[in-house]
Symmetry: C2
């Protein structure tokens, strides 16, 4: 269970729940409810952020992506905060697609991304958060994680490589670690891209049938698919335990790619707006300076 001790955040707490008045509210996991999240009750084909028209939604994603570019510029100038966006989900859930769809208009100067793979030998020689900490965004930067430290409470759990006690220990480590980050100015947005088993089957089949997508296919995906139920369970435990007041989880119904991008872009935009970003004050003597 996450520690419910109140964290002292150097940014408006509202930034983490910026859209909670709207359709967002049902999809953010309430911290500390102690209730096991049920992914079955959260429908992967829901479209809570949709206008009802796909064309309108697609145009909205484009507009949001461009709005994000401006906000990111201001975020970079402001330099009071850091932004970490965590994208998790099973194979084919759309993590790459989200990076492309939501962050394709922002300057790579301010937005960085890491795709996490299995740890190297040197990384395995350290604690599992060692390599993660190194990639944290600096002041004014945005970092997007394609997979993350949450793989360390998914793959080993599903495969029985760690005990329930070790799993609980890792949940606590992760909550403590994210509390450090949040209390020192990192806004953490965690998205679980939620697709149905049927949707995954179709997307994997597409990869098999389309030679230009073969590079994305791995036989390991077939093995992981056999563990579908176990992964859903591991995700439910993870969402219940690591949704904290300082870094809550958002479940994103992601059978529709357009809706997925729309929802994530909206939440990122609303978060940045809630931070009351500002350009830093002018340097003394700058006003009215004549360059000669």
């Amino acid at each position: 269970m996450p520690s419910q001790n109140d964290a002292s955040l150097p940014f408006p707490r509202a930034a983490l729940h910026a859209g909670k008045g709207g359709p967002w509210r049902d999809w953010q996991i309430e911290p500390g409810t102690d209730t096991r999240v049920s992914l079955k009750k959260l429908k992967p084909d829901a479209k809570p952020f949709s206008s009802g028209s796909k064309a309108t939604d697609q145009a909205a994603v484009q507009a949001l992506a461009e709005e994000l570019d401006g906000l990111q510029d201001l975020f970079y100038a402001d330099r009071r905060f850091k932004l970490l966006v965590v994208l998790q989900g099973t194979d084919t859930a759309g993590k790459d697609g989200t990076v492309r769809g939501v962050f394709s208009r922002t300057s790579p100067l301010g937005v960085h991304t890491v795709g996490w793979k299995a740890p190297t030998e040197v990384e395995r020689d350290h604690d599992y958060l060692w390599r993660i900490h190194q990639k944290m965004p600096g002041a004014g930067e945005t970092m997007v994680f394609n997979r993350s430290h949450y793989e360390d409470v998914l793959v080993p759990v599903v495969n029985g490589w760690i005990t329930p006690q070790q799993t609980a220990q890792r949940y606590a480590h992760i909550n403590d670690f994210e509390r450090l980050l949040a209390e020192t100015g990192t806004v953490i947005l965690k998205f679980m891209l939620h697709i149905s088993s049927d949707e995954q089957r179709q997307r994997l089949q597409e990869r098999v049938d389309d030679p230009t997508k073969h590079w994305k296919f791995s036989f390991g995906d077939i093995e992981a698919r056999k563990q579908w139920v176990d992964y859903q369970r591991a995700y439910e435990a993870l969402l219940s335990t690591t949704s904290t007041p300082w870094a809550p989880w958002n479940v994103v119904p992601a059978d529709s790619k357009t809706h997925r991008n729309l929802m994530i872009a909206t939440i990122v935009r609303d978060t940045l707006k809630a931070l009351n970003l500002r350009y830093p004050p002018d340097q003394p003597g700058l006003a009215g300076l004549r360059i000669e």
Copy 2:
């Protein structure tokens, strides 16, 4: 106050208190006592580990330094654990001297050291444990910190740069961070090198009087000396709050350099011995292999 939840350590807990039956016991801060440590009661000129003869003690330090070399070799081969040695103390407390005296016989292959300075601009753009985490020892390695993350609850506290609430937050961050390290196999030995104000005056005077020691002298040391009482108080709060079951503090009476080295070398040696280190099992097919 440190969280007293029991940590689950992958090494014998005795390693952290290897010498507690002996003279060590009075100098390790009991975790979670909630009692403010009084440095006045811990005499900087005490010599609990001394034989009574300086020549015997010096010979013992030499012998220990060489014993450490062998143990470190085994530690490196064993590769189940990591060792972090933290040296803290006011200016002239003898941190450099400890590194030289205790770790001068060990191979630099397995023993690394970092002298922490004021953070760079890039480091300040991240949380204050970001740079620390990067320097953590890998499996089989020993890392000696000359100053450490504890500077972040000393300098800003004494100078009033952070509020009591922020200070408490940092203690919690540090305890959580060290718990992660300990639970993932890092044995943490923390030494506070404890000298008297008189001893510091003499050592600073020596630096002023001896041109070959001028490079070690900084006018900042004079400023810090004026804050002696405040630093002692900050150390007392730090020792009370961050001595945890998974990473207890040891106060080292350090007016005598020989005794300081003797005590630290003994504790490091006893710790390594308590780990029941072993060479890894032979690779299959190696026994009896004939190279042709």
